[in-house]
Amino acid sequence: MMDANEREVYRAAIHGDRDAFEMIIRTHSRQLFAIAYGILQNREEAEDAVQDALVKAWKSRWRVRHPEKFPAWLCMIARHRARDVFRRRRVPETLEGHALSCPTISHTDATDPNALDRQLHSALATLPELHRSALTLRYFEELDYASIEKLLGLSNGALRGILGRALAAMRKQLRPALASLE
């Protein structure tokens, strides 16, 4: 379980200790960024969302009853925040989003690293946001399953399922590119 020292830091932060809260920012903001990026797939927006989430967390820190649930709560705020940003963006970007959702993957561009990148992102965009967040947490921060489960509030089986299905979906979409790579 969580060690006593960490727990003490969360408790202090809930009780308004700024230094403890800044400590948590140092240790957790990357994970929050991963989650936000998973939802938004845009670095600037994700960063802003994390920033907003941190401020909001500080202001309503007194709502947390149990210090050990603090990180999960923090992630929840970040997810809500990112989702808000996403929802606001979706209306003007419908056309672009449409374009993203129907990617045309040409075989000739497969070897081009930039083209692969684009294909990767458009494949990601087709996944549900929870799947994306799980993926980003895994591939950005290289967290083990236990940590991801805790942050996203999932059970072990559920996370395995999510990551498995996400990888499979990606694999299906990128099959031509994969083939060319081999």
Binding site: H15, I25, F140, Y145, G164
Partner: protein
């Protein structure tokens, strides 16, 4: 579910190193068997590699945390100080919490006290001390503060712990104010009295070291204390209540000579009730003063006793020293006269000086002798008063009578009573009033000699109808209060107050209301007047009216003597249908009433039926009334709702504000 179906999950977990050893071996054996899964395995591996290489580039850059921190600090500036924060921080301390709870409880108790108006005991006591101090101030201003101190530290002082003479002196000063306190408060006085005696002794001693000795000395009788060469003038005052003054004076004389003393002066006064009051001044040898006082007390009831000592030691020895000097001066002047032979004028000068010195010597000798005599004998002033000093000497019987007369002719009676005036019947006040409606009333006050009074009052009562007669007798004591067996009783002049009024103004003895229904109202009303005159009555008032529905009303008010009342009532029967008869009789207690002649009022309403349907009934009128009433009811409820809102709104506002503040406080604590 077989492994084959879930191959995606197993492959992902395998790549992420999250498979258990058992799962790992199961997967490997399956991959050996299943070519399709082997292919998927390869693809998934490649996918994982792409993700690790490409997606990982999107992760946050190294300066990300710093940016987050900076942004956070920017948006949430550190609040330094801040009263709310200070209070919140303070309230985290357990001791502060306990103190706050205690303060709240105390405040509640105080509020409760204020509401119930109960004053706390300790504060009252403090007030008392302050009050005592205040009273002591005019007498001995600088000592007032030490007085209190002396009271509170009395035990210390008694133990002789006062360590400086200055402090002892201060304490002595405080005695004067302390005695004031003694008079006012027994409980404090009891504590104080023995100490006051000790301090009085301490006065004679130079330092507080001797103070301790003095404590012991205070236990011994005053005669044996080292005051032998001191000049003390003692005097005492005794107030006694005795049975007989003349018997007591010889006894006092006998006691005085027993104690080597004498009666200096005696005086006595006789009071109005024959009791004697007087003063005897006795001189006795100071050593025997206490014994003498003891004896005196046996003579009667002790009312008051005072004992005082006046120390004249310093003045005495000063005068003595100056006398010695003057004597030496005198001797030298005499020698000068004897030996020197100079000019006559010088000799005369010396003679003159000698005369002045001798006069001074004599004056001082006289003074010393006076003091000697004062010191030699203590003065006892005995005030004597015989028992029952307050007994009255005589009684005076004062009689006061009040009479109310009613008559048709006020002026005649007024003049008749005025004609009664004689040296024994004096009219002190006579007044005849006539108001603007022509009603006459009169008021008379008469003083009569006691022997004449009964006859005169009877005569006046016969003049008219007596409504009220009251006699009040008062016994007044003269020259004292209370009862006396021997005092004489005298009758004083009788005071009689008469009011005369016309009979109409008199309140009726009985009042009757009735209604008569008839068709011819006017006619019957006239008939009523005739009836009244027949029964020796008068019409007091009458009125006639007709309302819009054609109903006629005649109101007639009659007054008849009580004896004719039944006859009148019977004669009303033939006039019409008599309805709603009600009779009131006022029982006037304490008044003497001539019932047969007392006036009885009869108020009669004669009325006709009028139209059958009035404008006040019918469909339209009913409708109109109903609408008006419902409008009024609606207005009333609107008003009530307004009142309720006005009453509730402040409470709601206060509660909401309280809730908001509480939320704020809780949030701040988190």
């Amino acid at each position: 579910m077989t492994l084959h179906d879930d191959i995606d999950i197993y492959l992902a977990a395998e790549l992420h190193n999250e498979l258990s050893a058992k799962e790992q071996s199961a997967l490997h054996s399956h991959l050996l068997d299943c070519a399709a899964c082997r292919k998927l395995h390869q693809e998934t591996k490649a996918m994982n590699k792409i993700l690790e290489e490409n997606l990982a580039t999107e992760k946050a850059d190294p300066a990300f945390e710093q940016r987050m921190l900076a942004g956070f600090r920017n948006r949430i500036p550190q609040r330094t100080g801040g009263l709310a924060k200070l209070i919140v921080d303070l309230m985290r301390l357990r001791s502060a919490q306990i103190a706050a709870v205690a303060a709240v409880l105390l405040a509640l108790v105080q509020v409760g006290r204020m509401v119930t108006g109960e004053a706390s005991m300790p504060s009252r006591k403090r007030e008392y001390v302050a009050d005592a101090e205040y009273r002591a101030q005019p007498m001995n201003a600088p000592a007032s503060a030490p007085a209190e101190e002396a009271l509170t530290t009395s035990n210390e002082l008694a133990a002789g712990r006062a360590d400086s003479s200055a402090r002892a002196e201060m304490a002595v000063d405080s005695v004067a104010s302390g005695q004031q306190l003694e008079d006012e408060k027994k409980e404090l006085g009891q504590l104080h009295q023995p100490r006051a005696a000790k301090l009085a002794k301490a006065q004679e001693l130079p330092s507080a070291d001797a103070y301790q000795d003095k404590d012991r000395a205070a236990q011994q009788p005053p005669e044996q204390s080292p005051t032998a060469n001191r000049k003390l003038i003692r005097n005492a005052g005794v107030e006694l209540e005795i049975a007989s003054f003349d018997d007591t004076v010889p006894k006092i004389t006998a006691f005085a000579s027993e104690e080597r003393g004498y009666v200096a002066t005696t005086n006595s006064q006789k009071q109005a009730n024959g009791k004697l009051r007087g003063t005897v001044v006795v001189k006795v040898v100071p050593e025997n003063l206490d014994r003498f006082l003891q004896k005196i007390r046996g003579l009667g009831e002790l009312k008051n006793q005072t004992l005082g000592t006046d120390d004249v030691t310093k003045a005495y020895f000063d005068t003595d020293a100056r006398l010695k000097n003057a004597r030496v001066m005198e001797q030298r002047l005499i020698d000068m006269l004897k030996t020197k032979t100079g000019k006559v004028s010088d000799l005369l000068q010396v003679e003159k000086e000698l005369a002045r010195v001798r006069e001074e010597i004599e004056k001082m000798q006289g003074e010393l002798k006076f003091w000697d005599s004062q010191v030699q004998f203590a003065t006892v002033t005995i005030s004597l008063a015989e028992k029952d000093m307050e007994e009255p000497a005589a009684f005076l019987l004062k009689e006061r009578a009040q009479l109310a007369l009613y008559s048709p002719d006020v002026e005649k009676i007024y003049n008749d009573i005025k004609a009664l005036a004689s040296p024994k019947v004096q009219i002190t006040n006579a007044q005849l009033d006539r108001d603007n409606t022509g009603r006459v009333s009169a008021r008379l006050s008469i003083l009569m000699a006691p022997e004449e009074s009964d006859a005169q009052i009877a005569k006046i009562k016969a003049m008219g109808r007596v409504e009220n007669f009251q006699v009040q007798t008062e016994r007044v004591t003269q020259g004292g209060t209370g009862m006396s067996e021997n005092a004489k009783t005298k009758r004083d002049k009788v005071e009689l107050n008469i009011t005369i009024s016309r009979e109409e103004q008199e309140q009726s003895f009985q009042q009757t209301n009735l209604r008569i229904r008839t068709s011819a109202v006017d006619e019957k009303a006239k008939e009523l007047r005739g009836l009244a005159e027949k029964e020796a009555g008068r019409v007091l008032s009458s009125s006639f009216s007709r309302d819009p529905n054609g109903r006629e009303f005649a109101n007639v008010c009659l007054r008849v003597p009580m004896k004719n009342y039944p006859a009148l009532m019977q004669s009303l029967e033939p006039l019409g249908k008599v309805e709603n008869v009600s009779v009131h009789r006022q029982d006037r207690t304490g008044a003497q009433i001539d019932e047969a002649n007392a006036p009885a009022d009869v108020s009669i309403q004669v009325y006709s039926q009028g139209n059958i349907v009035s404008q006040q009934s019918g469909l339209l009128a009913t409708l109109r009334r109903t609408i008006a009433q419902s409008a009024a009811a609606i207005m009333w409820s609107v008003r009530m709702i307004g009142v309720a809102i006005a009453f509730l709104a402040p409470w709601v506002i206060a509660l909401v504000a309280l809730g908001w503040l509480t939320r704020r406080a809780i949030r701040a604590r988190r």
